[in-house]
Subunit: 391 residues, 2 copies
């Protein structure tokens, strides 16, 4: 192994979650680990129909524009304009290979080695991977029930920190489940404008709300916000369609970097997504169905945790998204619990996977995904988890 390669391998850490998914693919294991939608709630028939329509000619199988098919960018621009004071132009939209690619391209465009980037803690591991690969200096701000502690971010800025951008999973945070409050959204963009950083609003979950509509995106409040989203959670992951809405000069740089990264995405899946996103009545009904189904599962998970764990552990309130955040109060080490849990046939992600440094309390917490499995399976999963905990 060459020295460069050895150094790279040491700097990069494999995603604990993706490794866990490979281990837990066995059908007898109930998976609460991955952030996976339930395949049974994917609009299979509608995607089949749209795919067949796209494949009437072979044009859908040709190379397409690096920035994405115009028809898709138009419908994304329409949707992103709905909540903003000014219309989003198609020229400000870039389609990406999932929103993860959007974040990766942004890091290539904005982050020099050693540059400071702020992330929330517990952190979205996909952001950490990108930022470590870019050799960013990662600084964390903790979350509470109202999302990022923007007051602590302000302290960092006052003390001289000058991040290139602040990354936030603003709505139904992964892994923490919380949503940035309206007042903190305003404070965050005020800080961005005052200190000259970008806010990267990573928002794949915002449409999956179960107890009331969340605040409007941070991107509604300032043009210093770079917004990332995706159809992976509302339509299907394998379409691999995400998007970025960003200031024009950043969008242009992202397109240049994407030319080198992979030339372009699939015109076929872009045509399918353009059709589905443009059919507002169908989409509204489909997403309303997801909210109803996933909302019931969130309730099931909460009730099962209360029933099985009582005062031993607490599940945070779930307002939307795909994850519940479980915290043990009895000194349980969730890394050790995972081993026992896998033996009992249930998988989850221990809090340590989301810790940047020595995140306080990470070792006593766990992320539970409630969207992949039915209510019956969720009940069984929590019973298995309790058995693993008690043995």
């Amino acid at each position: 192994v060459s020295p460069v390669l050895a150094r790279r391998m040491a700097a990069l850490r494999s995603s604990a979650i993706r490794d866990l998914l490979a281990v837990t693919a066995r059908p007898e294991v109930i998976g609460l680990a991955g952030g996976l939608p339930d395949p049974n709630l994917v609009p299979l028939q509608r995607i089949r129909d749209a795919t067949m329509r796209a494949l009437v000619t072979a044009d859908a199988l040709q190379y397409t524009e690096t920035a994405g098919l115009l028809a898709l960018r138009e419908v994304i621009a329409d949707r992103e304009s709905a909540y903003r004071p000014c219309r989003v132009d198609v020229a400000d939209v870039a389609v990406t290979h999932g929103s993860q690619q959007g974040l990766s391209l942004l890091a290539q465009v904005l982050v020099d080695p050693g540059a400071t980037v702020v992330v929330e803690e517990p952190a979205y591991p996909g952001a950490l991977q990108v930022l470590r690969a870019a050799q960013a200096r990662i600084v964390t701000v903790p979350l509470d029930e109202d999302g990022m502690r923007v007051d602590l971010l302000a302290d960092l800025l006052e003390s001289g920190e000058r991040p290139v951008f602040v990354h936030t999973v603003s709505t139904f945070h992964n892994p923490r489940g919380v949503t940035l409050s309206v007042s903190r959204r305003r404070e965050l963009v005020a800080l961005a404008e005052r200190f000259g950083f970008y806010v990267v609003e990573d928002d794949p979950y915002g449409e999956l709300y179960y107890t009331g509509r969340p605040p409007e995106p941070v991107a509604a409040l300032s043009d210093r916000v770079i917004r990332l989203s995706s159809v992976s959670k509302i339509l299907a992951p394998a379409l691999r369609v995400g998007w970025m809405v960003a200031p024009r000069e950043i969008r242009a740089a992202v397109e240049l970097v994407k030319q080198g990264a992979d030339l372009c995405d699939s015109r076929l899946t872009q045509q399918v997504v353009a059709e589905l996103l443009a059919d507002g009545p169908w989409l509204d009904e489909h997403v309303a169905g997801l909210r109803a189904d996933y909302g019931r599962r969130a309730d099931t998970l909460g009730a099962a945790v209360r029933r099985e764990f009582g005062d031993t552990a607490t599940l945070s309130p779930i307002g939307g998204g795909m994850f519940g955040w479980l915290e043990f109060h009895d000194g349980t080490d969730t890394d050790a619990l995972l081993t026992a849990a896998l033996g009992r046939g249930v998988a989850f992600v221990p809090g340590s996977a989301f810790a940047v440094g020595g995140g306080a309390g990470a070792g006593a917490s766990a992320r539970l995904c409630f969207t992949t499995n039915t209510a019956d399976r969720l009940d069984e999963a929590v019973a298995r988890l309790a058995a693993a905990h008690d043995c």
Copy 2:
């Protein structure tokens, strides 16, 4: 615009080809510019059928492994084993989002800023974009009728150059059309083993041969070869399925980087490609058909250039691939010719797009893609080009 962003934009150059494609999308322009397969020769019905089979359940729409679907890696490993002395293991195969992503991930894994990388000149522009983004020090070796001048590479190495890797489009070069001879393949891997660099064999065109089968891949000769290929030219670009066969430690690092780059590719298109590549008899007949059709078009282009240009310009012999390389002998500047040609309704890529430094003769040459258009259109395109040249 921030200083970092301004610096990035200056370092990156947009692909002249992709910009040209945007300009020349008008239907009245005959496109010889893009490296586009003819949509009419894409196996549309077979891809439709395979897509419908894949979409019998929603499993094909879920997230998949970062390294690629096992069934697809198995069939790729089989195909890549056919010409090698030792079997390729599935663990040595990584599926990528087109072979362009393979190259981009490799650069992230192997190239530190300032590291030396050797490319052929005229160069594949997609390689230049990746290497500029990685801040590599790019050193060129010229091509002749037998591919890379490996003797000149040897001189560079003897004089102290120590590249991390040497990139070669070994077979039916883009843009130059030439193929690395058997003896040079042997000399290249001998140098790789002696001086400790990797050979990156970028080979999307090898199966499209029209005048006889090309030599076996360079990867057959040494395990210091990292091989990239793709189905974009033989099945369809929008499937976005490429692959890398690489030494185990590089494959592992590439997988880590890909987790951050885009998590995974589309399971749907991977299932489709796995089915099509596994059906050997069908695939052989399909590719034989492409060879026959594209081979006739290569002949048509050659005859049209002789008829229209006589001794004024020469088209290199075309043994395979998608491109003819046209060289003017009358002092024609092909950048200026492009403007006149677009006025007459024909597009091509001027040689300057493939020049790294001041590539000798680049200004008098042009890349003509003959796969996108029928023979009649190719005749018309060359007539328009001659009219533009003569006016």
